[in-house]
């Protein structure tokens, strides 16, 4: 038996079986079949396969339909993702955390920069300036005026009060310590560049 080379006809054989051909095409295929043993054999094979349908269980339509939820209770595909919505909220919350966290870190770093720059600003220098109205050396020490003057700190973290302590005599140091004991508190805000403190007065 010669193999048929008319692939158009061969491809239409299943459609002939399912009666899916238009009249013109059906007549053309039938005319070909009348003269082509190979296609007749193919058609026979297809018939056998189609009729020998592999066992398929009968489907209980009602039980299937019972499982189908009514249309209105089905969440449309576009709105469906309840899970996706939760995920979106989580993502949004994470982003907010990142932004707030980043912002606070930025603020903190700016603050530390600012305080560092404050430290590097002219520091305070405490110097004893002899009071001209008190000529006695002892009185001069006792009533000396403490003047806080700006100095350049030798180290960013150096304490301004200790910056010039080496130059003070023992008596001046004692007086200074006493003066400091009389302070209510150290100023929380940035001190003025020059503060004069009279030895007998409390702040």
């Amino acid at each position: 038996m010669n193999k048929c080379t008319d692939s158009d006809i061969q491809e239409m054989l299943p459609d002939l079986l399912h009666r899916a051909l238009a009249d013109g095409e059906r007549q053309r295929v039938e005319a070909h079949l009348a003269t082509c043993d190979s296609c007749q054999e193919d058609l026979e094979v297809l018939r056998t396969v189609k009729s020998a349908v592999v066992f398929a269980p009968s489907i209980d339509v009602d039980s299937v339909v019972r499982q189908i939820p009514p249309y209105r209770t089905i969440v449309p595909a576009t709105e469906r993702p309840a899970r996706t919505r939760v995920v979106s909220w989580l993502v949004a919350a994470s982003l907010a955390l990142v932004v707030l966290g980043g912002g606070s870190v930025l603020l903190q770093s700016n603050g530390s920069l600012a305080s560092r720059s404050r430290i590097q600003q002219p520091a305070l220098r405490i110097a004893k300036v002899p009071d001209a109205t008190k000529p006695s050396p002892a009185e001069s020490v006792a009533r000396s005026r403490t003047v806080v003057q700006p100095i350049i700190a030798p180290h960013p973290q150096a304490l301004a009060l200790a910056a010039d302590a080496d130059g003070l005599s023992d008596g001046s140091l004692v007086q200074l310590m006493n003066d400091m004991n009389g302070f209510d508190a150290l100023p929380a805000s940035e001190p003025d560049p020059v503060i004069s403190v009279d030895s007998g007065d409390s702040l």
Partner: protein, 185 residues
């Protein structure tokens, strides 16, 4: 449009879908009744042995749940086949995974074919089944969709996620194999 047994013109799938959307539950019954056996046959032809009814049910539940995404570009049946095929692939993957963890017993093979052997009584049917078993999974899908379901190559390509050309090649190779197998038997 084919006439219904009552003489009225048969409603199209799209008309039934719209009726179901409007709250008519009987439209769902009509749609399931119209397509369920074709889905069962396709599953059986594709080599499914157990749980075909459950598979068909899952196919309809999924299809109705996402019916809004069905635009009617293909026929409803083609779309249903596509969903069913995906479910079959999921099942097979799950089975493969469970086989990797659970040792396969000899009785599994026996039970897999035993039920079917009892149901396919006639020798001719048995021969056809064996000839289909000789095909690759894709060849078998293409061949059964073409011969048993009468789908066009375009529709088959849609169902199996391929091209029309590839579907044609699969069909020609399949019919050659089946023909030779039936001749040799």
């Amino acid at each position: 449009m084919n006439p219904s047994p009552e003489g009225r013109p048969e409603e199209t799938d799209m008309e039934l879908i719209n009726r179901w959307r409007a709250g008519d539950g009987r439209a769902a019954t009509r749609l399931v009744g119209r397509h369920s056996q074709a889905l069962a046959r396709f599953a059986a032809s594709a080599g499914e042995r157990d749980g075909i009814e459950e598979l068909v049910q899952d196919t309809f539940v999924r299809a109705f749940a996402s019916l809004d995404s069905f635009r009617g570009a293909s026929t409803l049946r083609t779309w249903l086949f596509t969903i069913e095929r995906r479910l079959m692939l999921d099942r097979r993957r799950a089975e493969r995974r469970s086989r990797e963890t659970v040792p396969v017993e000899e009785s599994d093979h026996v039970s897999e074919y035993g039920a079917l052997d009892g149901l396919i009584a006639e020798e001719a049917q048995e021969r056809v089944r064996k000839s289909l078993d000789a095909l690759s999974p894709t060849q078998r899908e293409v061949f059964t969709l073409r011969v048993q379901q009468g789908l066009s190559y375009k529709e088959i390509a849609e169902v199996v996620g391929s091209t029309e050309g590839a579907a044609r090649v699969h069909y020609h190779n399949a019919i050659k194999t089946v023909k030779e197998f039936l001749k040799d038997e």
